[in-house]
Symmetry: C2
Subunit: 203 residues, 2 copies
DNA sequence: GTCTATAGCCAGATAGAC
DNA sequence: GTCTATCTGGCTATAGAC
């Protein structure tokens, strides 16, 4: 039993290494340009061994997305535990986290049009459950923040939620980073400001 | 001479048809999932004939982007001709146009990571010239709008410009459209508001 | 479960007749 | 310049030895 558990642990560590490589390559090149050969080379195992762990390239991508959502859920729960914090501040912290992940080169990017990939994700229970868990929490905070007047009450909560999610794959941070004119902290602050306050002048 | 000109016109019309198909397919499926066979079938000619007009798939995509930028440049010049309009209103009109193009399913989507595609675009003189022409105009208006206080003067103009460009490939409009809860006009208004005013409450 | 080697396929690009 | 037919390379996925 101890030996089996040890074996399982080894297996788990290896799969973690795989998923981490996939996550990095997805962030770097995107799904279509990432090849399974690259993943295998990056992990340091043969391609055939990869397919013993994950049955398809789509499954690899799905595993990376699940990992991302697990990290997101952890951040969300951490914010939920700050009993003194206002909902607006919690939302702000989550947006900030997504921008930091992007700037760290750890945000996997998937083509939203690929239907086989969408099918794989929609069929993945863990992915769906995590996505709903995170969305529910954010949705609560959005409604509460509209109630206390910190978020624009004329915007349907759905629109606010999508707008926040869209920041996670916004090209602006990487453009600004490529420009080399701002450091990561400045980029986060600037994008946060345009997201929260827009580009028009505040009185 | 007249005959030659006529031939050239026929050629031009055919190439226009090709580029229009490419534009539509790029909007629908994206660059990676669009196949040259599909383009040929959509235009109604053989694939080999396509390659007599354009030397590669990347060149097809570049042609579609040039066409898009030509349309954009026309919109920009039209706004420039409104001598009575404030710079803020001109910018607003351009943003609105990009959202309408997206909702009409006419916004080609290219993967920003594909390096061969980037190389093709950067080597395309017409593309670069149009991009700079449009960017210069928008840049002028941004600075002017910051001068008259309608755009937040604490944001570097570069950040405002990128933020506007990013609206052209924002996933929020198509998400909202897929949701079926809002019509196109409402979506444009909602996204315009989040772009200009952010999600936080305005006093 | 790991490897080497290869099957099978698909899509970009081309040859050559007309 | 248009077509049919074909080449070519690369990528996902698998067979089979160890």
């Amino acid at each position: 039993m101890a030996k089996l558990s040890f074996r399982e642990q080894v297996l788990r560590v290896r799969e973690d290494a795989i998923v981490q490589s996939v996550n990095r390559l997805l962030a770097e090149k995107g799904f279509d340009l990432m090849t399974v050969d690259e993943v295998a080379a990056d992990v340091g195992i043969a391609k055939a061994s990869l397919y013993k762990h994950f049955p398809s390239k789509e499954a690899l991508a799905a595993a990376a997305m699940v990992r991302l959502l697990q990290r997101a859920a952890a951040v969300v729960e951490q914010q939920a535990a700050r009993s003194e914090a206002a909902p607006f501040d919690r939302l702000q912290a989550v947006i900030r986290w997504t921008l930091e992940v992007q700037l760290a080169g750890e945000m996997p990017s998937l083509p939203s049009q690929n239907s086989t990939l969408r099918a794989e994700l929609m069929g993945n229970r863990e992915y769906i459950d995590l996505l709903m868990q995170v969305s529910d929490r954010l949705g609560e905070w959005i409604v509460a923040a509209q109630g206390d007047g910190s978020i624009d009450g004329r915007l349907p909560p759905e629109v606010v939620l999508y707008t926040i999610y869209a920041r996670a794959c916004d090209p602006v941070p990487s453009f600004l980073k490529a420009g080399g004119q701002f450091d990561d902290g400045e980029i986060v602050d600037l994008v946060m400001r345009t997201c929260l306050n827009g580009i028009a002048r505040r009185d």
